[in-house]
Symmetry: C2
Subunit: 298 residues, 2 copies
Amino acid sequence: MARLISLIEDQSPVLGQVARELAPHTGQAHVVGITGAPGVGKSTTTSALVTALRASGRRVGVLAVDPSSPFTGGALLGDRVRMQEHATDPGVFIRSMATRGHLGGLAAAAPQAVRVLDAARCDVVLIETVGVGQSEVEVAGLADTTLVLLAPGMGDAIQAAKAGILEIGNVYCVNKADRDGADVTARELRTMLAIGRKVEGEDAPQWRPPILQTVASRGEGIAELLEQIDRHREFLVEHDELEARRRLRARAEIEALVVADVRTRLAHGADAAALDRLAGDVVSGATDPYTAAATLTP
Amino acid sequence: MARLISLIEDQSPVLGQVARELAPHTGQAHVVGITGAPGVGKSTTTSALVTALRASGRRVGVLAVDPSSPFTGGALLGDRVRMQEHATDPGVFIRSMATRGHLGGLAAAAPQAVRVLDAARCDVVLIETVGVGQSEVEVAGLADTTLVLLAPGMGDAIQAAKAGILEIGNVYCVNKADRDGADVTARELRTMLAIGRKVEGEDAPQWRPPILQTVASRGEGIAELLEQIDRHREFLVEHDELEARRRLRARAEIEALVVADVRTRLAHGADAAALDRLAGDVVSGATDPYTAAATLTP
């Protein structure tokens, strides 16, 4: 699996063949996105969920696409130690992906990596993302179930709203709930979710995102959190939404690959020299970006 | 200007012609990116810088591409009031851009909007971005000078490092410096910047990013901040780096337009129906994303 995911990151030319062979084996895993601002405890929560999932006998894949994750080299003290306990468990596969590279690189690579973990018969794939900023939100949108984490503190629910992550959650969780203000944050969040909720027909069955409180570092509330995550998947299946979500995901995956190919051609391929020359012309005012782009667009 | 920027956001077909006519008039403005995590006071600092720039007689453009900005509809209380004072100043042009849309939309539109403000003879264009997450960092990288804001508090410099914004600053500023811990944050930041700094030849003149402290809400330290921002531009000009930076920016601009065109074709254009069908095939396992992408890649 590690080698396959490395092939994806490296955009290896044999990837196409690998993907063809994996295709019939995908579609079983429950893909769960975990997102929230830096400092809310994403890594700790991810680790606690891994423990709970293992206790229920499920195979778990973890894909960390958060630059602040202990897995992606931003490792800091306790985080790394905490994850260490899973490192030797054969039922857990942990993989980090660097996000510092090219814009769109993550969008192209992350879903492929999920498919590898899925084909490897992980029952659940947890994707940890930083969740602030467009590209990460997009990744969270690719999950079957998205968990949005917050932490207590003045205005944190408001900051979450500002960062645009209030729309994307299927399950919300105020972590570090032993700190002052957890109830306030949960209440603010409840209010903001109620405001944001569209008025829909009474008949349309609608998922109401639950708001939980956890202290992930001590495992408190994690069983309930996992229960709600599982419940959301059941809801999707019952209401035929899983297929629709996955179709959107596949669309985004294909699109990301097409775009990645175009970018590669501009960076290293047939169009690289022309792009350099045109960039110089734009700086000198001899041409404009639109005219330049038109000469490069296929 | 507002109409031109709206044309850009709407991807109007007349944009090409507009860009051609603007091209010879661009290249004068000092483009300053302002970035930092939600809550560090980006809007307040931007507003204070506008006041200082106006006091020195300069024309100012503000482009807010932060969903949490008071300009982009995330307006909250004091922020909006604070900016109100500039709204009637004919030497200040403020424009917000929504970032919620398509991935790459911001990357494509923001530099074009900067060119409009530049061609309109703004001496300085301030771009306010949320600065956490890939796309925003990329936008910050498009500025001549990037200002990274932090606020006091445990681990804030570490969080900044995790979020990947420590590499991109030309000027650093600990805002809300009247709060406890500002000195600690500044010291941590200094240490982390020193660790991150590459060992270079003694002869190579190198910009050492200064670390300032401000209380933007009271205007404290803003004059010094502006001085350092101006000093960075002088450094770039003296060392022939301005042209090189702008060439990179033009490259990214052109690339973003090419990619936007490809995405448009996939979303609404010639390839949209084929993409839908292929997405269904990927979900059913009949094909894989790579094979699907290959049939769409030009």
